[in-house]
């Protein structure tokens, strides 16, 4: 019999019941909640007179609607009444059901996908769900993690289980060494460019190969975060010493004897050498250069030395049409150099790239420079209060502020513009977030997805530049 993939093992470990119709009941170890997709689920529980099955499996924080500027007046200070009510409702629901919540002014508050790992609430071998598609982030810990809908949020609250079907296995193997200045963000953007936004549909993607072993946990989270942008609800990375070192000593991580047992158990969280994958994609790390998206889908991406494509050169009619529409929306010319794209704003943040390592990378580029005078705004939004505190302890905030970059409070911010941080119509933004859809960062806004280092270099230059050249000078 062929060996098992990591996904097969995680699935098997959590199977409560296999139904005849192919669906299965799987057990959920960790349920993360935020203010946007949970209110109806809580209301559903109340209407049906049900209680949460296991309170201690839940952890909540507000992130999408919170302001990233002054928070001294607390929830009452949130200007948009709809946002305020959503945040207040999360507070009220968590209080009445007894669920642990890191509220807006708690130092531990932050983007739900940043705080889970930071607290050790995400552990190797777990199943993690959240009413948010970027829950795939947590797969970096050899954790089976994916987004769910509001009905499923209620289902998980009430039963600690999910009704789901097994996915297929895909291996994306990245071998070789990444060049200097090439980061995890460039890896995942490149992969999406290769397999497309539907390439991973129906699969759990495991990211493997020699390059993955030398990528930090922050980088692995960045990669798994965007698995969903390749169509895969689940991204995974095998557990190794890097994983174990990251998890050790965090507030909810196992301690003492439990720790030793856990580490022993986690050794099995790798795909067997003879495991069979339904699909394999091979990537040579050395081929990857810093990436920039030029269109309105993450697969519309190219290297920094590239050009905006010419739709006329496309043979596939559907693609040609899509490219033309994207260029129109983005206000770009066919065959234009990527480095010629002028920027209005730069956003460093989101659950993709707002961890301490991301901020260090950006600060290293910015240090000693000033933001281009043509820019309207550059801002850094740390992923959590603890990331912010750590960055301040290292003096990164000063580097940013001296360069003319705004230093904000943690939250989703300009990633989806549910709070006041938004792009104006027609504005170009170098963004470290994960979605460049039309209107995502504000009505009519034009998003270019890049790594933190590339965003930082672009902030200084006012247009895209090759961060590898930039650092040399």
């Amino acid at each position: 019999m062929a060996g098992k993939t990591l996904y097969d093992k995680l699935w098997q470990d959590h199977l409560v019941r296999q139904n005849d119709d192919g669906s299965a009941l799987i057990y959920i170890d960790r349920h993360l909640l935020h203010e946007v997709t949970s209110p109806q689920a809580f209301e559903g529980l109340r209407l049906a007179n049900r209680k949460p099955w296991r309170i201690d499996a839940n952890l909540a924080t507000p992130d999408h609607n919170v302001p990233t500027t002054d928070r001294s007046s607390g929830v009452q200070g949130i200007v948009d009444p709809v946002s305020r009510i959503q945040v207040q409702t999360l507070d009220d629901n968590c209080a009445s059901f007894g669920i642990t919540e890191f509220k807006m002014n708690d130092l531990r508050q932050g983007i739900v996908h940043v705080i889970g790992p930071e607290q050790g609430a995400t552990l190797p071998g777990m199943t993690v769900v959240c009413g948010d598609s970027h829950t795939s982030t947590h797969g970096a810990f050899a954790t089976l993690a994916h987004g769910i809908g509001t009905s499923e949020v209620e289902h998980v609250l009430a039963t600690q289980c999910l009704i789901t079907k097994k996915m297929n296995n895909m291996l994306v193997r990245i071998d070789g060494e990444l060049g200097t200045g090439v980061t995890a963000k460039d890896v995942i953007l490149h992969v999406i460019g290769v397999i497309g936004t539907a390439g991973g549909t129906g699969y759990a993607i495991e990211f493997g190969g020699t390059a993955m072993r030398s990528i930090s946990m922050e980088g692995r989270m960045t990669i798994c975060n965007m698995a969903i942008e390749a169509g895969a609800r689940v991204g995974l990375v095998a557990c190794d010493q890097v994983t174990v070192d990251y998890v050790k000593g965090r507030p909810y991580s196992p301690k003492g004897e439990d720790w030793d047992r856990a580490v022993e158990a986690w050794k099995d969280l790798v795909s067997d050498a003879d495991a069979q994958f339904d699909a394999v994609v091979e990537i040579n790390a050395a081929d990857i250069e810093p990436q920039v998206t030029w269109g309105t889908s993450p697969e519309m991406v190219t290297g920094i030395s590239g050009k905006v494509p010419n739709p006329a050169a496309e043979t596939d009619a559907v693609k040609r049409e899509g490219y033309s529409r994207a260029l129109q929306y983005m206000g770009l010319q066919a065959d234009q150099d990527i480095t010629a794209i002028q920027l209005d704003r730069v956003f460093i943040g989101s659950c993709t790239n707002s961890r301490i390592e991301d901020l260090r990378e950006a600060a290293a580029v910015v240090k000693g420079h000033k933001v281009a005078s043509t820019l309207k705004q550059a801002l850094v939004v740390p992923g959590s209060g603890l990331v912010k505190a750590q960055a301040e302890a290292e003096g990164l905030d000063k580097i940013f502020i001296e360069a003319g970059v705004e230093w904000r409070e943690p939250g989703c911010s300009m990633c989806l513009a549910m709070n006041p941080d938004k792009l104006g119509a027609g504005e170009h933004c170098a963004s470290t977030s994960n979605r460049n859809f039309e209107g995502r960062q504000g009505f009519g806004g034009r998003t270019h997805l890049v790594s933190p280092a590339m965003a930082a270099a672009a902030a200084i230059a006012g247009h895209f530049v090759d961060v590898r050249e930039f650092v040399k000078h």
Binding site: V16, R17, D21, L25, Y27, D29, P39, Q40, E43, G44, L47, A48, R50, W53, R54, I55, D56, A57, N58, L59, V82, I85, Q86, T89, T100, A121, L123, G125, M126, G149, T150, S151, E154, H155, A158, T159, Q160, C161, I163, Y252, S253, P254, D258, W259, R261, A262, A265
Partner: protein, 215 residues
């Protein structure tokens, strides 16, 4: 979830094809934190003359007298007669929530959009697919008869007309079982509570560090 066994109710017509989820409940109401209360915004753009906003008192808004659900003869209707591809568009569960909250228990149409059809069952609504010709006939009879009512017998899988004649319909056995017994997904999963407890007990022994963490 409410059980659905035998239901007799007056019928209201929605005489247009491809009624999408935006028409059923416009997007501004998705910002709501509630799951109930969407009934007052069902078909909002058709039903009122002004543009609806969340958290507004709908009783103060100007009604569109021409809209069918505003007509006196259809007040209290609980069966919606519709045209093909009803419920197309987004996956929002707010659409069945709004129909259910308004008071509908069943929708009859020649076809439904896939996700909407699924979402109905999660929310105690019975979508019934009948032949286009049969639906045409029902529209005619409904038009001609004030207070036109149908009786829907889920157990027997028939729609009974006022003249006593019966129209059969088909439905997936599993979904029928769930509706008849008022079982939503959660109710069904809770029937396996013993399996869940047994799993937890095993897991607590094998990986105790996964429990009692955030307490």
């Amino acid at each position: 979830m409410k059980k659905f066994t035998l239901h007799k109710g007056t019928v209201a017509p929605m005489d247009r094809a491809n009624v999408d989820t935006d028409l059923i409940i416009p997007k501004q109401f998705l910002k709501s934190i509630k799951r109930s209360g969407f009934g007052q915004n069902l078909f909002d753009e058709l039903r009122y003359l002004d543009e609806g906003q969340p958290d507004q008192d709908a009783s103060q808004r100007p009604l569109n007298p021409d809209f069918v659900l505003n007509q006196p003869r259809y007040q209290g209707a609980s069966v919606l007669l519709a045209r093909k591809n009803f419920g197309c568009g987004s996956s929002r569960e707010h659409a069945p929530w709004a129909l259910e909250d308004f008071g509908f228990r069943a929708i009859i149409a020649p076809s439904f959009a896939d996700i909407f059809y699924n979402n109905c069952f999660k929310n105690g609504l019975l979508p019934i697919v009948l032949d286009e010709a049969v639906v045409d006939q029902l529209f005619d009879e409904l038009q001609a008869t004030e207070g036109y009512a149908l009786t829907i017998d889920l157990e027997q899988q028939v729609v009974c007309k006022p003249d006593g004649s019966k129209i059969e319909f088909s439905i997936d056995a599993f979904r029928k079982h769930c509706l008849l017994n008022g079982l939503d997904d959660i109710g069904l999963t809770l029937q396996h509570a013993d399996d869940i407890h047994a799993y937890e007990a095993r897991r607590r022994v094998a990986a105790p560090w996964l429990f009692d963490t955030t307490k």
